[in-house]
């Protein structure tokens, strides 16, 4: 299963990279979102996907899945969300102010000052 997940993560990274290299700001933000998905899945996979109960003591199971990667991912999800939200608003504001979402045209103040 881990091998399959490694390929899934690879595909997520690939499409995220491609989106981040594109011209449109929206696609770049979508790319970062997908990249964070890939990272979260990678964290989970590397922690091991062996069977076992959900990490709740009440289950009284003989083995549990590893709780530590889950805690790390939870933190990461929240942070990624905060960053994505901020990105989205920055993208929205820059489109409003500058009138373009084309990264090729967003080149600092060269020639404007």
């Amino acid at each position: 299963m881990e091998i399959l997940m490694a390929f899934v993560v690879g595909i997520l990274f690939m499409s995220a990279t491609y989106l981040m290299l594109s011209r449109s700001v929206v696609r770049i933000i979508l790319g970062t979102t997908i990249l964070s998905h890939g990272v979260h899945l990678l964290l989970l996979t590397m922690g091991g996907l062996k069977g076992g109960a959900a990490p709740l003591v009440g289950e009284n199971a003989s083995s549990y899945t590893d709780p530590l990667p889950q805690a790390l991912i939870l933190t990461a999800i929240v942070i990624a969300f905060g960053v994505t939200a901020l990105f989205l608003v920055v993208g929205y504001r820059s489109y409003k102010v500058l009138g373009t979402d084309n990264m090729e045209k967003l080149r600092g103040n060269e020639g404007n000052d």
């Binding site: 990490p55 530590l68 905060g82 608003v89």
Partner: protein
């Protein structure tokens, strides 16, 4: 801190007070306040002569950075004292001269004397330091103060050019020298020159010996204007004439000579040292004297003449070093060359200083230094003319002046090369002889084109007249020294020359007896030949001057220097422009590419492909299905052109991820992921109205590039994931959490207990991140009404 340290630091201290003298005592020329210092120092250094002539050295140490072996150690021996006397003696005369040369009313005297004092202190530091790092610090300070002095009239373009050029070249050499110093430290473990000399036998076969030698020589050659680094010196003539007389003839340009002489006991046993110094010295000697003849500006003639004479001294030091190298020959043959070098060093300082002052007077009284405009000044300036004759004849090597003596010794030294018995040896005295002929010619041009011939009043800005007596004092003193050393050379020999020589070549005994007449020998015949051929060539100058036109201007070293600066500037501009495109996408492409290259290379280099299928969980149907959907969605997103489709597809990926969390038994993650994905998609949809309708597309070539990069990133991540999973080195620490969640932390949900109890710190700052993001979003939206601009204005 001893009196010796104070003597070196005194110029710096006085430099602090110069601006106050300048500002508050307006009636008196600031130079008068400076003048006592070099005189005092000169007298102070004279008091050391008795001890150095008894082969004593005086060492005083002052702790500076002892932990790194850097102490301000001052050592007075024969060589250091000779230079200290030159620096302070000529320094006094130059200050006196400058008082009359620079006007109190129109010049910024405060800066001039501050720079000059900085230079004087730095130069004293160079010649008296025993610690190489301290020497280097003073060395760079001389470059720096020389830069300031050349650029003294900074509103002139040429001054700035000359200052920059000299700075670049001398600092280049200075840095090389620092490298050499560090290499010496690596070999010997000390920065002290005395201790390095003590170890010189041990290090000669060290692999770092030759690099250290080359680095030190590069420093010495650039500072002393040796070929091909001499190009800065003629451009440094834009400095005020007292500066040219002091720095660029008598003192700073001899710092390289000093370094070579000082390091001779360390390096001279190596053949490379002998041949590099002798070779470069000879080329410089010839090229300098050859180029001097074609100059039309008096100071340029003197500049090339200085270059040539420095080459002469340098080549003599090289041949003198052969005494250490050729054991089988009688060393006395070669030590004559060293004697000649030191003797000529003193002579050159006297006559070149006086000639520069003469040229300064001519410039000051006529308004020009161009020999095509000058002529017939003899009747107006008899005293200046006399001084010029003495200086120039001494420079040309005519009796009865001191230049004659050192030129004879120079020929003796050059002829001694024949003793070495190698094939092309005869060339060396021949080149030296030809260079002497050119020296004779430009010396004559200098005097006779200026002071005799036709007087051309229409070309002069002022009516020429004799200089004020104050301006003449210094050149008169120097010219008198030329004659005194000429007639009584032995007053120098035991007091100054021999101690200096014994410092350069320890272990040899010197018995210097210089006499005018030593019979009819080869040297005398060579001198007569120089005079004869020189006179003929001088009178036929107009006929063969065309020779200089043959030399293509394109091959000139200055052109090469200017072009290479230009190329470097254009080249770096081009390189920077080529990759700093201003486009963030390009930078991202670089970063991704380097990530791929570095990671893939590491993977291959470490042979990390031992994939194992142990520890692998079973694959189930649901998982395969979800994997297929997520793969299809994430690839499909690359091909959509509309924004709504891409947003929905991204949402799909997010929800599948939360389904994965369900399958992999992570209930809290699934919950959070679901909620957050929903909010994210809503946010995207919220901005939907404002976002552009069509997504901007790339041309195909970019797509291909991006596709290659992204496939690479995906492949590398997959490989690393597989490799990392196959090589688990130790078990997880999670067993502790599983066992202690309830007993230690009173909770049954392990993930939540880790988040708020075991690792609560992370959570706190995660909250902070969310808070900052919220504030950021709020201010981005809120500050919109101000238009963003007002915030900047405040």
């Amino acid at each position: 801190m001893s009196l010796l340290h104070l003597a070196i630091i005194a110029p710096f201290i006085i430099a602090i007070f110069v601006p106050f003298f300048y500002k508050y005592i307006k009636g008196v020329h600031t130079g008068w306040f400076v003048l006592p210092l070099p005189i005092l120092l000169f007298v102070y250094f004279i008091s050391f002569i008795s001890s150095t002539s008894n082969k004593q050295t005086i060492t005083e140490s002052f702790s500076w950075i002892s932990s790194l072996g850097i102490d301000f150690t001052v050592k007075v021996d024969g060589l250091g004292l000779l230079f200290a006397l030159l620096i302070t003696g000529i320094g006094s005369l130059v200050v006196l001269y400058s008082i009359y040369y620079l006007s109190k009313n129109t010049e910024k005297l405060n800066t001039f004397y501050v720079y000059l004092l900085l230079f004087m202190g730095a130069m004293l530091g160079v010649v008296l330091s025993d610690n190489l790092i301290v020497l280097y610090a003073f060395w760079e300070l001389t470059s720096f103060s020389s830069f300031l002095l050349i650029g003294y009239w900074y509103d002139r373009e040429k001054s700035r050019y000359g200052a920059q050029k000299s700075m670049i070249i001398t600092v280049l050499g200075g840095l090389a020298m620092l490298g050499g110093i560090i290499l010496l430290y690596l070999m010997t473990g000390t920065f002290s020159i005395t201790e390095i000399i003590a170890q010189s036998d041990a290090i000669i076969n060290h692999p770092l010996f030759v690099p250290a030698l080359l680095c030190i020589l590069l420093g010495a050659f650039t500072k002393s204007a040796q070929f091909p680094f001499h190009i800065w010196l003629p451009d440094a003539m834009e400095a005020p004439t007292p500066v040219s007389a002091y720095l660029h003839s008598a003192t700073m340009v001899k710092a390289g000579i000093y370094l070579v002489a000082r390091m001779s006991p360390v390096f001279a046993e190596h053949a490379l040292w002998v041949w590099l110094i002798a070779g470069f010295g000879l080329v410089t000697l010839f090229w300098g004297s050859f180029s001097a003849v074609k100059q039309t500006d008096l100071k340029s003639i003197l500049a090339f003449s200085t270059v040539s004479q420095l080459g002469l001294i340098m080549s003599l030091l090289g041949i003198g070093a052969a005494a250490l190298h050729f054991d089988e020959l009688n060393p006395a043959i070669f030590t004559v060359a060293t004697t000649a070098a030191v003797f000529h060093l003193i002579n050159h300082a006297t006559f070149k200083g006086s000639l520069f002052m003469v040229v300064g007077i001519v410039d000051h009284e006529t308004g020009t230094r161009d020999i095509r405009k000058l002529g017939g000044l003899m009747n107006f300036m008899p005293i200046t003319f006399t001084i010029a004759i003495i200086g120039a004849f001494s420079m040309a090597g005519l009796p009865p002046f001191n230049g004659f003596l050192s030129k004879e010794m120079f020929f003796t030294g050059m002829l001694s090369v024949l003793e070495m018995d190698f094939n092309w040896g005869i060339l060396i005295p021949i080149i030296a002889w030809i260079a002497s002929v050119f020296t004779f010619i430009y010396s004559m041009i200098l005097v006779f084109k200026t002071f005799t011939g036709k007087y051309q009043p229409e070309k002069l800005e002022k009516k020429p007249h004799e200089a004020p007596i104050g301006m003449l004092i210094s050149p008169i003193i120097l010219a008198s020294l030329v004659i005194i050393f000429g007639f009584f050379p032995n007053i120098l020999s035991s007091s100054v020359l021999v101690p200096a020589l014994e410092t350069i070549m320890p272990g040899f005994s010197f018995d210097v007896k210089i006499s005018f007449w030593h019979g009819v020998n080869e040297e005398l015949l060579m001198t007569i030949g120089v005079i004869l051929v020189g006179v003929i060539l001088y009178f036929t100058l107009s006929k063969w001057r065309g020779v200089y036109g043959l030399f293509p201007e394109k091959l000139a070293l200055n052109r090469f220097y200017d072009n290479s600066l230009d190329w470097m500037q254009k080249g770096s501009y081009g390189i920077t422009n080529a990759y700093m495109t201003g486009s963030i996408r390009n930078y991202l492409a670089y970063m991704f590419t380097f990530i791929i290259i570095i990671l893939a290379a590491t993977l291959f280099g470490k042979d990390a492909f031992a994939f194992s299928t142990e520890n692998v969980a079973q694959i189930e149907f649901f998982e395969v299905l979800l994997s297929l959907i997520i793969a299809i969605a994430s690839i499909a997103i690359l091909f959509t052109k509309s924004r709504i489709t891409s947003i929905i597809l991204t949402g799909t990926i997010g929800y599948i991820v939360s389904l994965f969390f369900v399958i992999f038994r992570a209930p809290d993650l699934a919950l959070t992921q679901l909620v957050i994905e929903t909010i994210s998609v809503s946010l995207f949809l919220l901005c939907f109205y404002h976002l552009p309708k069509k997504l901007t597309e790339d041309p195909l070539s970019f797509k291909v590039r991006n596709a290659i990069i992204s496939v690479g990133v995906g492949a590398v991540v997959t490989l690393i994931a597989l490799s990392a999973h196959s090589n688990k080195l130790f078990d997880s620490i999670s067993q502790y959490y599983i066992e202690n969640t309830y007993t230690e932390a009173a909770g049954k949900n392990m993930v939540n207990v880790i988040l708020v109890d075991f690792r609560g710190f992370d959570t706190m700052f995660e909250i902070a991140v969310l808070g900052i993001a919220a504030l950021g979003i709020f201010s981005l939206i809120k500050l919109r009404k101000n238009g963003g601009k007002k915030v900047e204005d405040k």
